[in-house]
Structure formats: structure tokens, C-alpha cells
């Protein structure tokens, strides 16, 4: 079994499952957003902010953002461990990625509840 202390779920199988579940959530969210924008061509601020002030949409969006954080980490962890062989470089890049994911997550929460 492949184990690595920087892997998200501490095991390849756990990461594999997290990647699939988060992918499905992101796929549904993507289809919803694209569909919403396609079927509302003359969208205005009132309708747009109304959508994002609904509790179900905030829950749905936060679920998507958390899935995005997990999905991006598992994906970028896989890519960085495959191609960045020097440990110092790999860990440095992975720390930047984690920081970016954290910023995106906090930013997303602020967008959902801050306005």
C-alpha cells in the first residue's frame, strides 16, 4: 500500500474515494451553475444575489467549495509527488498549494456570508 504522510487521507484508497465523491459534488454544482446561467440570459443583480442569499444555495455552494479544497489537494498532491522529486522543492510547492486552498476556502465563505 502506498502511504505518505502528506497524503490527504493518509492512504491511497482514502484519497481515491475522496477524489471521486468530491468530483461528483463538483460535477453537479458545475452543471447547476452552467444551467442557471444558460437559462437566465438577462440575469440582474437582484436575481443573482437572491440566489446566493438562499440558505440551500449557501449550503450547496459551501459543500462545493469544501469539495473543491479536498479535490484540488488530492489532485495537486498527486501531480507534485509524481514530478517534483527533490523533497525541499516538493514540500515548498505543497505548502504554497495548501495556503492557496485555505485562502480560497475562507474567501468563498466570506463571499457566501459576508455580503
Amino acid at each position: 500500500m502506498v502511504t505518505n504522510i502528506t497524503s490527504f487521507g493518509r492512504s491511497g484508497l482514502s484519497d481515491w474515494l475522496i477524489q471521486r465523491v468530491s468530483a461528483l459534488i463538483l460535477a453537479v454544482y458545475t452543471l447547476f451553475m452552467v444551467g442557471y446561467l444558460l437559462f437566465n440570459p438577462g440575469l440582474d443583480y437582484a436575481a443573482w444575489s437572491g440566489l446566493f442569499s438562499a440558505t440551500w444555495m449557501r449550503i450547496f455552494s459551501l459543500l462545493a467549495f469544501v469539495s473543491l479544497a479536498a479535490h484540488a489537494w488530492v489532485g495537486l498532491w498527486t501531480v507534485t509527488t509524481d514530478y517534483l522529486k527533490p523533497t525541499a522543492v516538493r514540500i515548498a510547492v505543497q505548502l504554497v498549494v495548501i495556503l492557496a486552498i485555505f485562502v480560497f476556502l475562507v474567501w468563498g465563505i466570506q463571499v457566501l456570508w459576508g455580503a
Binding site: 458545475t30 444558460l38 443583480y45 444575489s49 489532485g75 501531480v79 514530478y83 474567501w107
Partner: protein, 125 residues
């Protein structure tokens, strides 16, 4: 699995048939989408901040060529990553996991995402 097994991931020495190209493109589009989150979150934040912010995002998306190109690029990466992701899920379900099946799925990934990328371009313009 023996973790000490020899592994070659040097991309310059690996032959790249179509399924390998679709796989590496899945990785590249994933990295691009991660970087593109800056634009996506900026657009979401600004458009929800105020009516003026909404108009600014909407105006940029309908008039600024650079913004249109970024939007089309990110939608294209998203379309490809989505389709290639479905290919992954099919493989997980043991569908078409043969040499011919792998090639067919890779070809389908290219064709379907090409159509979606063109449609995304039509949508943006």
C-alpha cells in the same frame, strides 16, 4: 505492492499514445483550473458585492476581449477536465478497461470536449 519498485515518471523519456496525452491533459487542465480559481472567486465576489460590482463583471464579460479569452479558456479547461473525469469514473466501474476500450474512450474524450469547447466559445461571444 512493493514501494521500492522502479518507477519512471520522466515525461521526456515516455512514449505518449493518445490515452497518455488525454491523461496528462487532465492533469494540466486541473492545474490551470486551480490557478483560474482566482478569476472565478474574484468574479463571484465582485458580482455579489453590489449592483455596481455585478455590472462591472457583466460588462467585462461582454465587452473586454481579454476577459472573454480568460472565461473561454477556463470554461474549456473545465469542459475537458469534466469529460476526462467521467472517463475516469467509467474506468473505475470497469467499463472498457481494455487496450481498444482505452483508445476509444480517449478519442471520445477529445471529440466530446472539443464540441463543448466550441459551444463554450459560442456562449462567451
Amino acid at each position: 505492492m512493493n514501494s521500492k519498485r522502479p518507477v519512471n515518471l520522466d515525461l521526456t523519456t515516455i512514449k505518449m499514445p493518445l490515452p497518455a496525452l488525454t491523461s496528462i491533459t487532465h492533469r494540466i487542465t486541473g492545474i490551470l483550473l486551480f490557478i483560474g480559481l482566482i478569476f472565478a472567486f474574484w468574479a463571484l465576489d465582485t458580482s455579489l458585492s453590489s449592483p455596481e460590482g455585478f455590472d462591472a463583471v457583466s460588462h467585462a464579460l461582454s465587452h473586454n476581449v481579454l476577459v472573454k479569452l480568460i472565461a473561454w479558456g477556463l470554461l474549456s479547461a473545465l469542459a475537458y477536465h469534466f469529460v476526462a473525469g467521467i472517463k475516469h469514473l467509467l474506468m473505475d466501474m470497469n467499463i472498457g478497461v481494455t487496450l481498444e476500450g482505452g483508445l476509444k474512450k480517449a478519442q471520445a474524450t477529445v471529440v466530446i470536449s472539443a464540441v463543448l469547447i466550441i459551444l463554450a466559445g459560442v456562449w462567451v461571444w
